[in-house]
Symmetry: none
Subunit: 201 residues, 4 copies
DNA sequence: TATGAATGAGATTTCATTCAT
DNA sequence: CATGAATGAAATCTCATTCAT
């Protein structure tokens, strides 16, 4: 049965299995045996490909953040409108993208967020991502309002997005992506309305 | 050392020690030995007073939620202004109360939030608290806007509050309570402005 | 509440409570807390009166054996017939005496028998008692048969009695004392029939 | 050291080690560490193969009962004489078979008997076995005597066999298998003599 | 005399990791 | 490449005993 070129396939299998396991029983009970069972492989293989459980968790978190970045990025590339609202709207939509909003992704994201408070390796990933989001929002807000206020707007919107995710992760049926986006966009428009009535068409 | 009537004292000590331990190393590594060390007692006493680790965690979460309820409640009782804004403002201020915003409280709150996704006992507590907050916000918003919109406003404000907490828990220096309140109040005023220009002076 | 002269009362309470606890959950789970609860006192008192759990267990076993000895002894004193059958019959009847046949007594007896295989203190008690029973049976059998056969008869009857107890301890409804005695007496008569047809009237 | 296909070997090793440990220190002190040491493996492996200590104990009891059944069964298959005495004799001989009479087996058997009074899982095994023995004896006795008496005979002989085991387990040198069989056979012959003088040659 | 608070040793169980096959 | 046998560390829980009150 051993095949060559299995590495990328196995890695992907195991990362997906990790999210499923976290979705199922939580990070605390996501043992490598359980994860391996989800992936249909043996437990030993995890150390083989990821050096250990921590490596797998880190790779999984990286994947989540990458997916998020891609969801935002692809939307921004498709914009034909260069307005701040369009850019920031792409951030919102990207954050409530399908791949992000699935039960496994949301719970895994929250689990990692919590875990990252005490694990430097995860904290670093978290930080990089967070700063990028914040800088992005700041930049676009600052095009239509003073920097000090742009910073507050960025903080507020980031909090709103994360808060919606947070509550969505706990909701039995999963996050209501559409409703969440409406709320986020309404907030965005209010933030913009005060300073750029001419831009917010 | 044994004294009589130690039960309430020990219980409180152990609950505080639990928050400290979670603040220090996270829920996953908050072992009963570490918690007991924080409290300056032996590990066995935890089972004696709480029946086991789960009992202690549940009691700790209950304490957090009770503190939160009290912080909101005491503010509401002190209101001499019966306006919706004043009531909802009390909710915001209560949520960013001192006891809530401390590093230990914030991290413990987040840890329990995450944990409650897979532990029915914690989920129940979470749920009761959450519903109370939501119903409260809904009611006061509904005094100045149609019910459908009041629900959205409640959802939005709850998300904003939780989001600010969430991000505050991760911030190294702890949550900037004042800044967070400013953002929350600004959002509140925007929500109210659309429907009750006469109230929001 | 402390009273003087409580010692004999407490000791008896605790010994009875030990049998009840063993009857209820078995020797392995008869913790001192449980025993104390049965007696309606605190756990600490056990060490006070018996020096520790082992002391209590030893005292309890001693009680069981004493009860047994008394049951046999009182019957023998009441005999007006000096025949071997009468004496041996008193042994049988004593062994299936009410106080011995109760659920608690039977289970406790068996628990101690098993336990005594690895606890010298209990083994000593067991041994003394056993030897007395055996010597007794041997003596009376030897009055009507050669010594070698008397020994076998004593071994057989002792095995029969213990076997009936053993099986009675496991029977849900407890030992059927009457049926057991019938079997034991039938066996006794068969043993005697071969050698002393003139005695067994 | 890890090999494949070790499961049946390890299971057998651990079951034997359990009996040795019980023989050595009794069921109460037969910890998994001690059992594992007897088997020359680590303690963790017990949970791996048996799911926990209870699983191991149950498997060990099952083994004892299976050995007993086999010892009786193989003797009955070898019979060329179909008389009730021959069949019942096979039961007696099987019960005092070598594998059954070893110190470890006898002490383990008694320990489980006692333990089964409070552990449903063991009680079930005990019951099945006991009923089979009783039904067997009943059937063969009933071929030469009325059913009511056959039942008593079966009860008596079962008690005699168990009683001899019980006392043998406590005897320092172990059970005298030959002497025990003589007593049991003598009892059997007496039971049969009353009803089938023509069979008991 | 009696309580129950407190400890600490010990037992079971879980689990990440290693490694021979 | 992949398995799963095996270990050993760590965590929780139980419980007999001690001791201040």
């Amino acid at each position: 049965m051993p095949k060559v070129g299995m590495e990328p396939i196995r890695r992907q299998q195991l990362i997906s299995a990790t999210m499923e396991a976290i979705d199922e029983v939580g990070l605390a009970d996501a043992t490598i045996v359980r994860i391996a069972r989800h992936a249909g492989v043996s437990a030993g293989i995890i150390s083989h490909y990821f050096g250990g459980k921590d490596g797998l968790l880190e790779a999984t978190m990286r994947q989540i953040l990458t997916d998020l970045g891609n969801a935002v990025g692809s939307r921004r590339r498709m914009l034909d409108d260069g307005s701040p609202r369009a850019f920031i709207g792409a951030v919102i939509e990207g954050n409530f993208d399908r791949t992000q909003v699935t039960g496994p992704a949301a719970k895994t994201w929250l689990a990692f967020w919590t875990s990252s408070m005490h694990k430097p390796a995860l904290a670093r990933l978290q930080n990089i991502n967070d700063r990028r989001l914040y800088a992005n929002l700041c930049y676009h807000f600052s095009r239509v309002m003073p920097l000090a206020e742009a910073r507050n707007a960025a903080r507020g919107l980031a909090a709103m997005i994360d808060g919606l995710w947070l509550r969505g992760a706990l909701t039995p049926g999963g996050l209501d992506a559409e409703g969440a986006q409406r709320l986020a966009f309404a907030y965005l428009d209010q933030l913009l309305a005060h300073h750029c009535s001419t831009f917010a068409s």
